[in-house]
Amino acid sequence: MTSTDQQIFLSVRDLKVHFSTEDGIVKAVDGLSFDLAKGKTLGIVGESGSGKSVTNLSILGLHDPARTTIDGEILLDGKDLLTATERELERLRGNKMSMIFQDALASLSPYHTIGTQIGETYRKHTGASKKEARARAIEMLRRVGIPQPDVRVDDYPHQFSGGMRQRAMIAMALVCDPELLIADEPTTALDVTVQAQIMDLLKDLQQEFGTAIIFITHDLGVIADIADDVLVMYGGRCVERGTKQEVLRTPQHPYTLGLMTSMPSLEGSVDVPLNPIPGSPPSLLNPPSGCRFHPRCTFTEKVADGLCSTERPLLDVVDGRGSACHLSLEQREEFFAEFAASRHN
């Protein structure tokens, strides 16, 4: 049911990322583990301060080495990225693994044409000539659905619309046929119809090339569309994981449940107020003790001895499915049952 029986391509083990700042140590990621197989998509759900972006920057080695302490293991096709040299990482970035960022306008150089930027990545990793790189850039633009690619290849980023810029970024990320693609909220800033086009494009490309994709978003609807497996992050930790069906149909963590029940949908009842999660995302400088979600959790008094504020709940994973909560699974089944019933209709 999970990806453990397929070829594991990326393996993250007990990742810890700490930043030293003037105000103290920020524990951005605090013990994260997951696996990803080729041709599969892992959806990471997280909001501000969940540690999702830091996790991905760490995989690519794009963190600031001077102020960052990283522990744990990141294995890409067997190679440990955390002990790799900068040179080795450079050979992998853009080549074997690449990233699509949220803000395409900020991520593309305004001084170079789209074609030059796409071609640059290609030339660096394959030693191709300018002419070959240009031809490859045109081919990639065509593949991502840019009309008149042989003309648009000489345009600058500001001449592209938001959706087109994102496609250009995808073209740049895929030009060397990477085996791992990390997409960090690539559609959050886009209109809903453009988002649908980009999602279709990524799914088609994955089918054609068998790319492993990590897709970060806070939108559960997007997760439902594109992910095979889901990992929910909160306060730098994984609070729940499983297949998309498992997590969306029967969430096991109060935070996941809270996200689902707080969102307005196109079909839900409109005459009752929404059910927001109280409070705000946690500070990572002074994170809450014990379970990082406990200040916002509505189930803490059901747990004996006030454990939620004193002890960190362990993430118990069986067959790729698990969550980190002090409530017993029976208790959660009972309390969440009302929700589960409404979702099964």
């Binding site: 909001e47 119809t193 806070h218 609807g221 439902a224 969306l248 969102m263 409109v270 927001p276």
Partner: protein, 347 residues
């Protein structure tokens, strides 16, 4: 829909932004037709949702209503009084009644002022002195929006995004307005916070009877908050209706496509909603397509669509108050025909 004078009445509202260029003498070489002939009304205490994608002109419309911009053509009436080209002096007494909430909670608060000063600002500018003093009123407002009144002397940077948006709401309420234009009030917020702010706005609307023009691109949020909804495309309203009519029976192809593009957070293998895929990007508002502006992306456009702009009217099969601008409005049959050809392909 009441027959009383609407709180806000907009007809033929147009805003073109001139583009200057040319050599050697700069002259107007074209115009961005941001908003082109809008007609709509907002009744007292009612919430009108304005949805559309980037570049459709919804934010410009919000600024026109609050007279932060002056229309190029058309008419805006507030409580029966025409304010289309009113001067600042003429607008002064009305300004306290029409307030705005902005999208970016980081850019819309002056970082050098305390929260108390920010919220009291509108009162100071308009020379309003509520009974009991301004400070008391500010503390009341902080409580209404769910913030601690003791934080009166804190600065914006000490608050989170969601809290800053609440400060923006408190500021908008300071003068007891009758109409609030909220321009994407929750899009910049984390998902778990959006619901909090939406609930706050609903509470404000219901308890204080304030009318809203709620501008957003999130169709689910708009559905939750608005009684009437208008869909905009490239400067025009393509469909406007009571909420349940719009979401339950969208007659304009663009409305249908927009609704079908919203991803659902369910893990069923068979999608509950049909997916219509639009090809390409929105055309430029500098040279919008002739006739119907949506025709370049519409799967059933004909020559008529290029030569004749469809009027926004109550087409056959619509309930009263439901207006659609299309020569070939959707029916249940036409959608089925579209999907049976190839449900997966871009249409």
């Amino acid at each position: 829909m009441s027959n009383a004078t609407p709180l806000l009445d907009v007809s033929g509202l147009t805003k073109h932004f001139p583009i200057r260029g040319g050599f050697p003498f700069p002259r107007t070489v074209g115009a961005v037709q941001a908003v082109d002939g809008l007609d709509f009304q907002v009744a007292a205490g009612e919430s009108l949702g304005l949805v559309g994608e980037s570049g459709c002109g919804k934010s410009t419309t919000g600024r026109l209503i609050t007279r932060l911009l002056e229309p190029t053509a058309g008419k805006i009436s507030y409580r029966g009084q025409e304010i289309t080209h009113a001067s600042r002096k003429q607008l002064a007494p009305i300004r306290s009644e029409i307030q705005m909430i902005f999208q970016d909670p980081y850019a819309s608060l002056n970082p050098r002022q305390t929260v108390g000063k920010i919220i009291a600002g509108p009162m100071e500018i308009n020379g309003v002195n509520p009974a009991g003093g301004r400070e008391k009123r500010v503390r009341e407002l902080l409580e209404i929006v769910g913030l601690n009144p003791e934080h009166y002397n804190r600065f914006p940077h000490e608050f989170s995004g969601g809290q800053r948006q609440r400060i923006g709401v408190a500021r908008a309420l300071a003068l007891e307005p009758k109409l609030i234009v909220a321009d994407e009030p929750v899009s910049a917020l984390d998902v778990s916070i959006q619901a909090q702010v939406v609930n706050l706005l609903q509470k404000v609307q219901q308890e204080l009877g304030i009318a809203f023009v709620f501008i957003a691109h999130d169709l689910a949020v708009v559905r939750h908050f608005s009684q009437r909804v208008a869909v905009m495309y490239l400067g025009k309203i393509v469909e406007i209706a009571d909420r349940d009519d719009l979401y339950g029976n969208p007659r304009h192809p663009y409305t249908r496509a927009l609704l079908s593009a919203v991803p659902e957070a369910t893990a069923d293998d068979t999608p509950a909603r049909e997916r219509i895929r639009l090809v390409g990007d929105v055309p430029s508002p500098i040279s919008p397509p002739s006739g119907c502006r949506f025709r370049t992306r519409c799967w059933k456009a004909t020559d008529k669509c290029a030569s004749e702009a469809p009027p926004l009217v109550q087409v056959e099969g619509n309930k009263p108050g439901h207006l659609t601008a299309c020569h070939y409005p959707e029916t249940a049959e036409t959608v089925a025909a579209v999907l049976s050809k190839d449900p997966e392909a871009a249409v």
